[in-house]
Symmetry: C2
Amino acid sequence: MRFVPDFIAQFFTKGSPLYKDLQTMLGFTPTNIALYELALCHRSNNANSTENNERLEFLGDAILGAIIGEHLFTKYPTKPEGYLTDMRSKIVNRKTLNQIALKIGLKSIMKFNEQDYYLRNSLIFGNALEALIGAIYIDKGYATTRTFLRKRILVPFVDIELLENIEVNMKNKLIGWASKQGKTIEFVVLEETMEKGRKRFTVGVLYEDEIIAKSMASNKKEASKIAAEEAIKKLELV
Amino acid sequence: MRFVPDFIAQFFTKGSPLYKDLQTMLGFTPTNIALYELALCHRSNNANSTENNERLEFLGDAILGAIIGEHLFTKYPTKPEGYLTDMRSKIVNRKTLNQIALKIGLKSIMKFNEQDYYLRNSLIFGNALEALIGAIYIDKGYATTRTFLRKRILVPFVDIELLENIEVNMKNKLIGWASKQGKTIEFVVLEETMEKGRKRFTVGVLYEDEIIAKSMASNKKEASKIAAEEAIKKLELV
């Protein structure tokens, strides 16, 4: 109970509907319920800013990075480091996590200031998912956290092939759109730099005679994909 | 052996001096020696770029982040998230890791192009330390990796109080230096922004009427410290 302030552990009680929702979401029975309460408590819920999920979010973010890293390392034994890094950042992306958090129903069992329009539409749910991962880690250890992430998050919600292809489609979408306008889109390498002894490529999207978006990644293909996404956003084609 | 290319596992052999050095460094007996070989193999050692430590470095970096995160979370139960984040980035800082790698003697058992002056003075040893952490994780699991990091890295080489105080001294050093010149140094908040729903402060070092360095952190004190360090570097007072 060391990490949990006293005011917590009075909302969820064994057998309550909230507790049952949590149990269904986790797929196991929590031992230290108060930890999960804390994970689901956004700072807007309490004036005292130390009694919220931010410390657990810090921890969960780190544990999530490690487990996703290991997952990709094992799943793709021949892919280079650049691919693994790029895929991980797509998975642990704040928007992706927030979408997953909403899908598993985290919003309905969270405690936050629901009057606040900005918060209701913000990414605090993905942050709470990270905090929840921190709580699972403290409560049950690394192995259970890994099982939870694989079974309840990665398998049902993260389609790596889809993540790869979404941006390929973006690139095609962009080129197709330009061609319909009778204009041209080109992807040009603007810069090659060295970072940690490896090449990093900055690729720009050249629309007519203007660079309308650019992005840096460890290979040209990846940089082009992200730049295409940026361009699509700027041109409001989404 | 799945993650290890065939050419590896021919340098280190049980009982060889290199193997003994490795064993002393780790404090345990490696099972899959080839993994450690791979971790110590920089890309400059082999023309075939897939047979190097970069994938293991990716993994080790993630595992390191998680274990340091947990260590700080547990050691400082009342510190806010911002403090934990800042401390972790100081510890897993590339220069800090490289210094530790040199201190534990990693350079002498690494395989890299030793003719290359740039490499000899680069940060590839810290990267290899991360790869080594990845190898330990695959070979022995999370618990052994954590024990290795705590006993062999954190306790002997990472002094958190020192890391905190170094920058305090930097600030004093800077103010002292200016006062000797009959000039003034001030720390000014240049910007307050919101990131992930939290405040971030950009603090600048004002020397006479010029901002000579600036830095962003989750609190003003931390931002001032880092900005002071930057200023000291720029003024070449180190």
